[in-house]
Subunit: 239 residues, 4 copies
DNA sequence: GATGAATGAGATTTCATTCAT
DNA sequence: CATGAATGAAATCTCATTCAT
């Protein structure tokens, strides 16, 4: 029975309604290429090889189709990223992971990313919609990681987690446009490392070896030692 | 009488085509609120209080109107920012200025920013257009500042200027959306400082005063400790 | 039942898109009556009994509709005329046929003719279009016939075939306007004969029949005169 | 004073309202190039260098402007051709003249001719208008010439004058299109001669030596001669 | 579920014409 | 007479959506 369920489930996942999936894919391409408004249902149907009306057997409206398309790309991304992030204990590593994962998504499915970047936010009810939830869940992973890092003392206490989130995801989007429009490409590993280094360098707590503070602390230590040592002569319990 | 005529003339000069300007403003609002595609020329005309066709007396096409609107906002911004940046010698300060100026623009004219962010890049010929030029000129200010800073040794030699540009302007855009859509606001001065600090901390070279000095200071500390320790036995004021 | 189905199928074949055909017909009428520019798509749709937009389900543009309309009339005409002309050996007969066929077409479908005459040539790209090809093919039949006749010695060697073509088809067009606009009609057979006679008389080589007859008769006259004169001597004995 | 009046008059004639004339000329060009419907009043005004509304100071409507334009070209042509034709006595020469004059007009002002050919006839009230009158007057010159020729016995009695008119003017129009659209030019003198020769050959009465009539006349002559000759011997010395 | 045709509302754009100045 | 702005009607075309088959 488990097997049966699994297979059914597998079927549904891999090919639930082949037409519906084909429409979703065609819509994703069309929306990503021309934008939601300029991509017509007729064009999507043409890409699939069906007639316009047939689209409405699977999706109640064009707008619903957009939501579906975005969800089908975004949901797995959010799920997998959430899972991946929650398995990493150290905030620094989690930030590193989130940045790399975000860039990876961009490399894997630029059209999907373009959709989210340019179309998801264009509707009035965006912030009440399911997509907005996904977006919030996704970007809050970074906020949480940074907060966590602040708590643990890895990141500066005055770090603004929202700022880091805007910086990272905004930066990725900015790169995305260069990559999507073909002007300027990026190398995943290198970019991930550089971006991570920059951000971490910007928010990491004064590391033992890098800031001025430690030196003064050492000086303080030295002072104390000196004080102690020079006071030793006056130390009572001298044998 | 001559004076009167002159004043009228002056009025005409300072406000040469009040209708054209009114259209530009209405278009900016409409485009920013609903997006280029969903804002109709009819609506823009209604905002101005003229009929649809009258818009075409002043602008040859809807698209041209968009270009005009964006340019009228972007061009002054680029000019003033270029002027401001070129007057600042130190890269660190220039980066600080560029970040603050960018956020300032966002505070000053959110609708204009929204337009650039969400509409300027939606046309196929974007990268061949005048607006793309403005955009390149604008963001290259940051790239140049960072490059300059690398040359002078203020920024790490392995800093990627394009990455910094994407990070900063992408980050600002990301904030912009939050601010524009009303969800989440930001305080200019605070945000500018935090963003600047983060980025500068991320790219600034291990400061000459923090790396070199500490060593000598540590040596000094060591000397002092040594002195303290070695002097103990040879403590003079022995009773 | 199979038969019924087949017949239906046959009907469908012979009248595959009744709406498209209805549009073509309505467009032909409207274009012919008011001219391309002054006949609106809305009017054409109204004639068919559908809404404006429905026309665009069948024809991508108004202009394309015009082309289609012209082609659907012109192509068969050119084909059939070409076939008819090529079956006739003697140039004189071929010219006769072409003239009659041209006038016949005018009688058969004046609206179609009006379209070709007044609308086909109004577009800038006319001479690069398919319709221009048809036109050239059509009128070159006359040019070829005349050339052939010159070769064979039926027509004067100094005949200008292009001139004949312009004369005949221009003349037919001129008549067409009279006929179409209702002012002045023409009787097919009579006009065809007169036109043919005029043109042939104008280009035929000094005809064996026209020269020979009078000559022989003159010869006869001469004979008689000779007879008379020569009989004079044999006539003295007149009392 | 007489001088003043004359000069004013002269001015008015040579430059009655320079603006009005400029508009007429610009309109002629625009209408001829793009057709009446596709040439806008704005474009005509632009060619003149005035604003749209100014056109209406001189012409009550666009349509009226067209009429004016056509008349200003057609009227002189009709007048001069009428005068020229009426000065020629012999029908053959008159036909020759009319053909040459028509082709000449085409050479002199192709745009004007194009207007008449393609625009004058497109209005519903064409046949009630002044332009139609001009057209009738013009083409009837040929009809009259042919009729005259028939009366005098120069042209065949079965010649159809209307047919000749359609042939000649239709033929000229046909050539005109080739010439106007740039495809195929023509040499005035040669074409005029060829066209005239063809038409005259087609309608001229069998010349003294070619037809039946002369033959019978010759026969009559022969009869008389015969009579004379035979009677002569018996008739010489009549007291 | 799919088809093909149709709908109807709305988009951009054009343009002859008017009118206050 | 000319200007410049505006009008309002109409034109072409697009498109999401519906529906009988």
């Amino acid at each position: 029975m488990a097997t049966t369920t699994r297979m059914t489930s597998a079927d549904e996942v891999s090919e639930p309604h082949s037409t519906a999936q084909a429409i979703t894919r065609a819509a994703r391409d069309a929306f990503a290429e021309k934008g939601y408004d300029r991509a017509s249902v007729a064009e999507i149907a043409r890409r699939v090889g069906i007639v316009e009306g047939a689209v409405y057997r699977h999706f109640p409206s064009k707008r619903d189709l957009l939501h579906q398309v975005i969800r089908s790309f975004y949901e797995p991304l959010v799920e997998s990223t959430t899972a991946g992030a929650s398995a990493i204990e150290w905030p620094v590593d989690r930030v590193r992971y989130l940045i790399r994962r975000g860039l990876q998504a961009l490399t894997d499915d630029r059209l999907g990313c373009r959709l989210i970047i340019s179309e998801a936010r264009t509707f009035d009810d965006y912030y009440e919609s399911e997509i907005a939830d996904l977006s919030r869940r996704y970007t809050s992973l970074m906020v949480d990681a940074v907060r966590d890092g602040i708590h643990r003392g890895d990141f500066r206490p005055d770090t603004n987690p929202q700022l880091v989130r805007d910086l990272v995801y905004g930066g990725i989007e900015h790169m995305a446009w260069g990559a999507i429009t073909g002007h300027g490409d990026f190398e995943l590993d290198l970019t991930a490392r550089q971006l991570t280094d920059l951000v971490l360098a910007g928010i990491t707590s004064p590391p033992p070896s890098t800031t001025a503070d430690p030196t003064s602390r050492l000086e303080a230590v030295a002072d104390r030692l000196e004080a102690v040592l020079t006071s030793t002569p006056t130390d009572p319990e001298q044998p």
